[in-house]
Amino acid sequence: MYRSTGFVSFVLRRFTGVALVLYLIAHIWVIGSVNGGPELFNARLATVQTPAFKLAEIALLAAVVYHAFDGIRLMIVHYFDVTEYRKSLFYAAFVVSALLTIAGGLPILLFALQG
């Protein structure tokens, strides 16, 4: 196993990408149930309103934000000759993602704790 910041970013990119696909499937499962009537929709919506799913929403936010900023980082590398700043760009994407996850995750967490 050859460890490096590039490898960490690659693994995170793959992991968050697969997580987002799984989320989309779950999202369609819930939203698509509207065709089955209000009872079915409300029942499925209730299953994703539990505290565990609130925590999962924070993880979802982290995945979305990291995947987006990692994509922006890669576009910068593709279009500009900036490979010498590869580590700084990775850390920047990671730190911005972490800050936005905290900023967006705290209200979700507080809302979940309030019940």
Binding site: Y2, R3, S4, G6, F10, D81, T83
Partner: protein, 271 residues
């Protein structure tokens, strides 16, 4: 059990061993090596082979970081052991760990099978294809054209980048950073007559578009080359292949002509 520490006079060199005739899987063996100023990792391996275990197997040749034979994985990084001082790689406990290049089949101890490395290299036609009619005297390249390929020219084919690449590890059909760097060298060489064919060969999902921009090739290169940037350049050129090919044909019409000297500017030119 806590492994033993080295001392001021001895380093502990931990080497991954594997003998296909007797071992089911690789294991790490420790050797105590004298810490002498100026000792390189290759010197340490030679000392072990001569003084402790003659069966230790590794590749080496020039000892001057130019043949590319002695690339190994030291403390998790791919480096040339011939140019790396032992002292620089010792941890606080006086230990260093040497393994064969990762992601490649091990033949014995520190020797790996580089068949796929060379197969992919040949795949990009690494040789120059000059015009059928060569100039009577010489090809004339501008300093800018030489500077553009200088980075790629100094590759020593050690395999450090290839075996550090996780895309190679996951997909053996991937051409690999070493061969793509060589393709970059030929594509940008104004003397080469088949840049379009080359770009068609590497502009595929087994070539430049398979790279996941992990940057391990840059981190691993003992010559501080930049295969990732070469791949990025090839990606851009592959998307405007026809225009690039036409520009090359035009350039070769004047390749034997003297390079125009830039006009002097400012006060210097007024003297």
């Amino acid at each position: 059990m806590e492994p033993p520490n080295g001392s001021n006079t001895e380093a502990i060199v931990r080497i991954q061993r594997f003998n296909p005739d007797t071992d089911a899987k690789a294991h790490v063996q420790e050797f105590h090596v004298p810490r002498v100023q100026g000792t390189t990792l290759l010197d340490a391996l030679h000392w072990i082979k001569h003084e402790r275990d003659g069966s230790l197997t590794f590749r080496r040749s020039c000892r001057h970081a130019i043949c590319g034979s002695c690339a190994m994985n030291v403390n998790g990084r791919n480096i040339l052991v011939c140019k790396t001082p032992l002292e620089d790689q010792l941890d606080r406990k006086g230990r260093v760990t040497i393994r064969p290049l990762p992601y490649l089949p091990i033949i014995k101890d520190l020797v790996v099978d580089r068949s796929t490395f060379w197969k992919e290299y040949v795949r990009v036609k690494p040789w120059l294809v000059p015009p059928q009619t060569t100039p009577a005297k010489e090809f004339r390249l501008s300093p800018e054209e030489v500077a553009a390929v200088h980075n790629a020219e100094t590759c020593i084919m050690c395999g450090a980048c290839y075996s550090a690449c996780q895309v190679v590890a996951l997909n053996k059909a991937y051409i690999g950073p070493h061969a793509l760097l060589k393709s970059f060298l030929r594509v940008l060489d104004p003397r080469d007559t088949i840049p379009g064919e080359r770009l068609a060969d590497v502009g595929t999902d087994e070539g430049v578009f398979r790279c996941h921009t992990i940057f391990n090739c840059i981190d691993a290169c003992p010559k501080s080359l930049n295969p990732t940037q070469a791949i990025e350049t090839l990606r851009k050129l592959a998307q405007k292949r026809a225009a690039f090919e036409a520009a090359r044909v035009e350039r070769q019409r004047t390749i034997a002509d003297p390079i125009p000297v830039p006009a002097q500017s400012g006060s210097e030119g007024e003297r």
